[in-house]
């Protein structure tokens, strides 16, 4: 059974068709890359999957581990094991990093029937994971994403992913705003979490990120649909010839 199954997804925003019958199946242990030019529907796809208000499907369906997401709010989807790493992580002034993480992790643990972590146990766990992601203690004491650099914001996203242990992670343009060193740290963080039990969907403009997070499958998204699928070599083709050639051929 696939971990994530998108079936014929259609979605309109302001009366404009954005997703036009998109289908995708992601099995456990797999990493899929979705590449596409500006305006192809990449961010819409990630918001739709995460369950943002206003991004409900017009028709079609999405299943997470066989369970339909259509009646689930964003928070239920997240507790069920779906994670979205934001392209632009949102600043939360006044919300401390550590207490935010704890609230999120305990929501997920509660859903999984695991015991909620008390403050001390949690802090210990968070510090352990954070140090692997080169996230300093001091960053966890600050308000979430407030005054973080581009690299720090993305590292904090992947730290959340590591702590929440999702079944399916959607990484929306995780490479945007990162220099090479930061890209490597973030990618290492993601790769460390790859295993046979979970799956990752990487949404990106550029092939660059895929040098670090090597996908099993690459899909080209154009005008609300996947027009071509293949292996990692497809990403190299995009890099070489641009999207235009592929789109025209399709």
């Amino acid at each position: 059974m696939s971990l994530l199954e998108i079936k014929n997804a259609k979605l309109k925003l302001d009366d404009k068709d954005i997703l036009k019958g998109l289908s995708l199946s992601v099995n456990s242990g797999e990493v899929h890359a979705i590449m596409g030019p500006n305006g192809s529907g990449k961010s819409t796809l990630s918001y739709m999957l995460a369950g943002r208000d206003g991004y409900e499907l017009e028709s079609g369906e999405v299943f997470l581990e066989g369970q339909s997401l259509s009646d689930m709010e964003a928070d239920e989807r997240a507790r069920s094991g779906l994670f979205l790493a934001f392209q632009y992580p949102v600043e939360l002034p006044g919300v401390g990093g550590m207490s935010f993480l704890r609230e999120a992790v305990n929501s997920r643990r509660k859903f999984l029937g695991e015991e909620e972590l008390d403050h001390l146990a949690f802090v210990k766990e968070a510090r352990k994971v954070a140090s692997k992601m080169f996230v300093k203690d001091e960053m966890l004491k600050r308000a979430v994403n407030v005054g973080f650099s581009g690299g720090e914001k993305k590292r904090f996203e992947i730290l959340q992913m590591a702590m929440l242990k999702p079944k399916v992670s959607i990484l929306d343009e995780t490479d945007s705003g990162l220099d090479v060193d930061a890209l490597k740290i973030v990618s290492d963080g993601v790769n460390a979490q790859r295993n046979d039990e979970n799956a990752i969907v990487v949404i990106t403009h550029y092939q660059r990120l895929l040098d670090y997070i090597v996908p099993d499958f690459v899909h080209i998204l154009s005008d609300g649909n996947i027009i071509k699928s293949g292996g990692p070599e497809l990403a190299l083709e995009v890099e070489k010839n641009g999207y235009a050639g592929l789109i025209n051929a399709a």
């Binding site: 928070d75 997240a78 939360l92 929501s107 929440l164």
Partner: protein
């Protein structure tokens, strides 16, 4: 003599005045109390007092035997208590050296009265009524070079239904002195009209926290008149959560160069509460800074008002004046009004103001929900953060938790009804 019902309170104020022997400032004040401000007056347009003229209220005669049960939340604070608007030394702490508490005589009271009458609070109803009816004007003096480490708490309580209370406090900080004062308004009266005169001499510094938490049926019309001398520092934060109608009005006169003023505040309003923070800041000399950050959270059918005026005189070059107000409405029936006003007559100044009224930010809410946090919890987190942010920025570190706990009580009541 037949008289209109509307005049009842005016008559009872005048009757009350007649019982005092020394009459000069009381008589002057009571002569000036002719009616409640009309909504046609610009500063009372958003906060109307009409309903007061239909209430049967008389100024309270303090009961000096009244016992109180309130306790302090601090282990070693110095407490000054006002009951029924009168100072109760028997219920107050012994004061440390360098601090004194006196009841002003006739001459000093008159001087104090004129300070108010020379200010733009001259027509404020509390100015006229409380100078008429206060049991006495109490002066708290911090001597030169005295820096008070103990926390001071001034607790105003007592009062009865259908009475008005009139505490009047004059705080003077002499050169190079400093103090932190928490004031709590916990009255049971229908009408509360506190007067406060603050004078900061050269290089003096005060951290002032006011918590308005009167009875749910009361009207509190607090009037504060503050004068800042050279290099002085007035850091004030008001938390308005109680009363049916609470208006805290502060007028600050920056009279000496290089002084600094913060007039921040939060109002937390539910049911049919009306909360109003009104300020007027007068930059009369160059090189001073003033800052106001006001935040409100409203539920039910409540109304919040922030009106802040900053006036920069022609000579007050290099003034830095900032104003920012934000309100979050949790109910469709709640209303928030913001009226920032800048009057600038100097050309080399930095002044800015902004106001927003709205709901909880969608992006922030989605971000929290996308981490598995329920909508209800996410809203709680965001509103709490909205308050924590300003409290941490405005309030001295040692009392931040205390303020936050005070705010949280009112907040959870609003949230439990709206979310």
């Amino acid at each position: 003599m037949l008289h209109n019902v509307k005049d009842n309170y005016i008559i009872s104020v005048k009757d009350h005045v007649s019982q005092f022997e020394e009459k000069s400032f009381r008589k002057l004040a009571s002569n000036d109390f002719k009616s409640w401000p009309s909504p046609r007056e610009e500063t009372w347009r958003l906060s109307r007092l009409g309903v007061l003229s239909r209430k049967e209220i008389t100024p309270i005669t303090p009961n000096f035997k009244k016992q109180i049960s309130s306790v302090s939340k601090f282990k070693s604070s110095k407490i000054i208590r006002f009951v029924d608007g009168a100072l109760r030394e028997d219920l107050s702490s012994k004061l440390p050296p360098g601090v004194s508490l006196n009841i002003l005589g006739e001459e000093d009271s008159l001087r104090c009265f004129h300070k108010f009458k020379d200010s733009n609070l001259k027509d404020h109803p509390s100015t006229n009524v409380s100078f008429s009816c206060t049991p006495s004007i109490v002066k708290l003096t911090i001597e030169k070079d005295v820096k008070i480490r103990d926390l001071f708490e001034i607790i105003y309580e007592g009062g009865d239904d259908d009475t008005s209370v009139h505490p009047a406090l004059y705080i003077e900080l002499k050169d190079n002195s400093s103090i932190t004062i928490i004031e709590r308004f916990n009255h049971l009266s229908s009408l509360i009209m506190p007067l406060q005169l603050v004078e900061l001499k050269k290089n003096a510094s005060i951290n002032s926290l006011k918590i308005f938490n009167d009875n749910q049926q009361s009207y509190n019309l607090s009037a504060n008149c503050t004068f800042l001398s050279e290099k002085s520092n007035y850091n004030s934060f008001s938390l308005i959560k109680g009363g049916l109608f609470t208006r805290s009005e502060t007028h600050a006169y920056l009279k000496g160069e290089n002084c600094n003023l913060n007039l921040n505040g939060v109002y937390l309003s539910s049911k049919n509460q009306h909360h109003d923070l009104t300020t007027a800041i007068y930059h009369d000399v160059p090189n001073c800074t003033s800052k106001q950050i006001v935040r409100g959270v409203l539920g039910g059918k409540s109304t919040g008002v922030f009106q802040g005026k900053v006036r920069v005189a022609p000579d007050a070059q290099k003034t830095d004046g900032q104003q920012m107000s934000r309100a979050i409405l949790l109910s469709e029936n709640a209303i928030a009004n913001a009226k920032p006003e800048l009057e600038i007559y100097a050309d080399d100044v930095i002044c800015a103001h902004g106001a927003t009224v709205g709901e909880i930010d969608d992006d922030q809410l989605f971000y929290l929900k996308s981490r598995g946090i329920s909508e209800k919890k996410a809203k709680q987190i965001l509103i709490t953060a909205f308050l924590k942010d300003i409290i941490n920025e405005s309030v001295e570190e040692s009392i931040q938790n205390y303020v936050f706990e005070e705010a949280e009580l009112a907040l959870s009541e609003i949230i439990s009804k709206e979310i």
